[in-house]
Symmetry: C2
Subunit: 331 residues, 2 copies
C-alpha cells in the first residue's frame, strides 16, 4: 500500500484496511472504527459546534502541515468561542495516487496536535476521487466543545483591543513554501492551539467581551466583522500591531498588508477598559502571548459599525474587509 | 454573481456575501453567520457524533442531488446509532467557476431535507480551490444527536436480520445518471432520511439489537462488519432480499451484485427472534418500510465472525466485504 487507489474509498476491504492501518493507529479511536457514529458524554449545558474544511497548498509548510492546521483551526474556533474542546471529527477527501506515506505524516501530526490540545478525534470518514478531481488531500473537521461562557458582556466605548502576538506569519509562511514568488524567507507558520491558553485567561480574569481568531482575511477582516456585528466603531493605532521584521519585509516587497494576512495561532480580544492591562499582563506570561499588545480602542457605538486606523499624525482612514483575492488556499 | 471565484473563498467581502445570499438564506441560521462556532443546547446524557464527506458524481441524479444526500446521509448515521439528530454542520469545497445557480439548487435541497428530518444546519464553512483542483463541489458534514439508546443487547443465535426495503437503488441510479454505460433505466435513488422512522420503531418496540444503514459497500459489507465486530455467524436466505426488477435487470447486464450496491435510505436490523415479526409488521406500516423483509438469521457466535448465503438448494457460500472497485464516488 504505497499510494491511494479508488478502491480505498469504496467502503470495502481496502477502506477498512486504510482505516485500521492509518487512522485508528494514529488516533487510537479503535472502539468506534467501522461504526456510523461515535459516542461522547455531555454534562449538559450548552455546546459550541464548529466546522472547517482545509485545502491549504502546499500541504507541508514551515511550521506545520494540513493536518496540524486542521486540528489547531478546529480547536481555536472552539477556544475563541469560550468553549473547552470535547471532541472533533475528521473527514478526508483523497486524490487517487496520493502517497500513503504523506497521509501517514499528516495523520500523525493531527494525532500529536490533538493530544497537545487534549481533544479526542472521535469519528472519521474517507473518500477517494479520481486523479485530477482533487488536489492531494482535503481535510474536513467539526469540533464540539463545552461552553463555559468565559467571555461576554456588551462592547462599550472605551473598551480595548488586544492581539496575542505577531500577525501575518501564516500567510507569509504559505507564500514562501509555495516558492512561487522567488521569496526567500524563514518565517514559520504560527499554527498552534489557543486552548488551553484562552481558557486560563478568561477563567481567571473578568472583562473579556469577545475573542476571535483572525484566520482567512486577517486581523482587519475579523475586527470589521466584530464592528458590524456589534454596531461599534473601533480605532486601531498605527504602529502598535506586532509584525515580525521578516513578515514586514516580505509584505513591503510583495505589496501585502499584514493586517489582511492569515494567522493560525493568534487571538484578538475586545476587553473592558479597566481590565485591559491585567489581561495583557496575563497573556504575556504565556509562551504564545509574549508579544501581546493593546492595539486599539472602541470609540463609539450605533450605526452599521466600522473599523478605523488612526495614524501617528492623528488622521483616520477606514479599514474594510478583505476585498478580492489575496492568497488562495491558505487554510 | 454567476460563478464561484477564488475570492469567494478568501474570507473577505465576497465570502461574506456568498454566505448571506446562499447559505444563511437557505438554512436560516442568521444569528451564527460570521462567527466561529454555533451554540446548541444539550440536555446532558450521551451524544452521538458522526462525520461524512460527499463527493458523488454526477452532482444531480434521479431522486436527489449531492445536497439531499449530504443531509440524509448524516441524519441516517445518527438514526441508525439510536440518536435523535440535534444539529448538523455543512462545509463546502467549491471549484472555481462552479455555477452559483447549481450551488443554490443544492443548498435549497439541503434546507428542504433538513426541515423534513427536523435537524438544524448550525455551522458552515466555504473554501474555494482553483479550476481543476476539485470536481465542482464536495460537501462535508458532521452530525450531533442525542442518544436515546433505542437499540442494544448482545446478538444471539436465532436473532433475525431485517432489511427495511429494496437494495441497490442508489447505486444503479448513480450509474444510470452517469450514462457512461449506455444504461437506460428510470431507477431513482432511495436517498431519504431514516429519522424519525427508526426512532418510532425502536422507542415503541423492544428487541432491536443493532441498526445500520448499508451505504458504500452495500448490504453485504454492512453485515460482514456486524458479524466481525460482534463475532457471530449470520446466514442470509437467497431470494429473500428485496430488489427492484429494474435494479435486478441492470445488475444482470452489468455483472453487479445488488448486495454490494449502495443504498441511501435503507436500514438493516438485527433483532431478537421473538420480536422479529412484530418489528417487521411495524416497519411495513411506514412508507419507507413497506417492502421490509426478514432476510436471514444468526446461526452461531464465537470466532472471527462471518456472513454466509444459504441457497435455495441448502448449500452455503461465504460473503466477504466489497473487495476492490465497484462504483467510484457514489456518495
Amino acid at each position: 500500500m504505497k499510494r491511494i487507489s479508488l478502491a480505498h474509498g469504496e467502503g470495502g476491504e481496502l477502506t477498512e484496511r486504510l482505516i485500521r492501518d492509518v487512522f485508528v493507529k494514529a488516533f487510537g479511536n479503535e472502539e468506534h472504527a467501522g461504526y456510523d457514529a461515535a459516542v461522547i458524554g455531555s454534562a449538559g449545558g450548552k455546546l459550541a459546534v464548529t466546522t472547517d474544511s482545509f485545502v491549504v497548498k502546499p500541504l507541508f509548510f514551515p511550521g506545520g502541515n494540513i493536518g496540524t492546521l486542521a486540528v489547531t483551526g478546529t480547536v481555536n474556533d472552539l477556544a475563541v468561542s469560550g468553549a473547552v474542546p470535547l471532541a472533533m471529527t475528521a473527514g478526508f477527501i483523497l486524490e487517487e495516487g496520493f502517497p500513503v506515506s504523506d497521509l501517514k505524516a499528516i495523520v500523525s501530526s493531527m494525532a500529536a496536535e490533538a493530544a497537545k490540545a487534549g481533544v479526542a478525534i472521535v469519528a472519521g470518514d474517507t473518500k477517494v476521487v479520481s486523479k485530477g478531481e482533487a488536489d492531494g488531500v482535503f481535510i474536513n473537521t467539526a469540533g464540539i466543545g463545552r461552553l463555559y461562557g468565559g467571555s461576554g458582556g456588551e462592547i462599550r466605548e472605551g473598551d480595548k483591543v488586544i492581539i496575542s502576538g505577531t500577525v501575518g506569519d501564516h500567510g507569509i509562511a504559505i507564500l514562501s513554501a509555495r516558492n512561487e514568488l522567488g521569496l526567500l524567507s524563514d518565517v514559520k507558520s504560527d499554527c498552534a492551539s489557543l486552548h488551553p491558553m484562552l481558557g486560563a485567561i478568561t477563567e481567571g480574569l473578568s472583562g473579556v467581551r469577545i475573542m476571535r481568531d483572525p484566520t482567512r482575511g486577517g486581523l482587519a477582516t475579523a475586527l470589521v466583522e466584530i464592528c458590524e456585528h456589534h454596531h461599534v466603531t473601533m480605532e486601531l493605532w498605527e504602529g502598535t500591531v506586532p509584525v515580525k521584521r521578516e513578515v514586514e519585509g516580505a509584505c513591503d516587497i510583495l505589496g501585502f498588508d499584514p493586517l489582511y494576512l492569515a494567522n493560525e495561532g493568534k487571538a484578538v480580544f475586545v476587553t473592558a477598559e479597566e481590565d485591559a492591562e491585567r489581561i495583557l499582563a496575563r497573556l504575556r506570561r504565556e509562551d504564545r502571548g509574549k508579544q501581546a499588545q493593546i492595539i486599539g480602542t472602541v470609540t463609539g457605538s450605533g450605526g452599521a459599525g466600522k473599523l478605523l486606523m488612526r495614524t501617528a499624525a492623528g488622521a483616520t482612514r477606514r479599514l474594510h474587509r478583505l476585498s478580492g483575492l489575496l492568497l488562495p488556499r491558505i487554510c
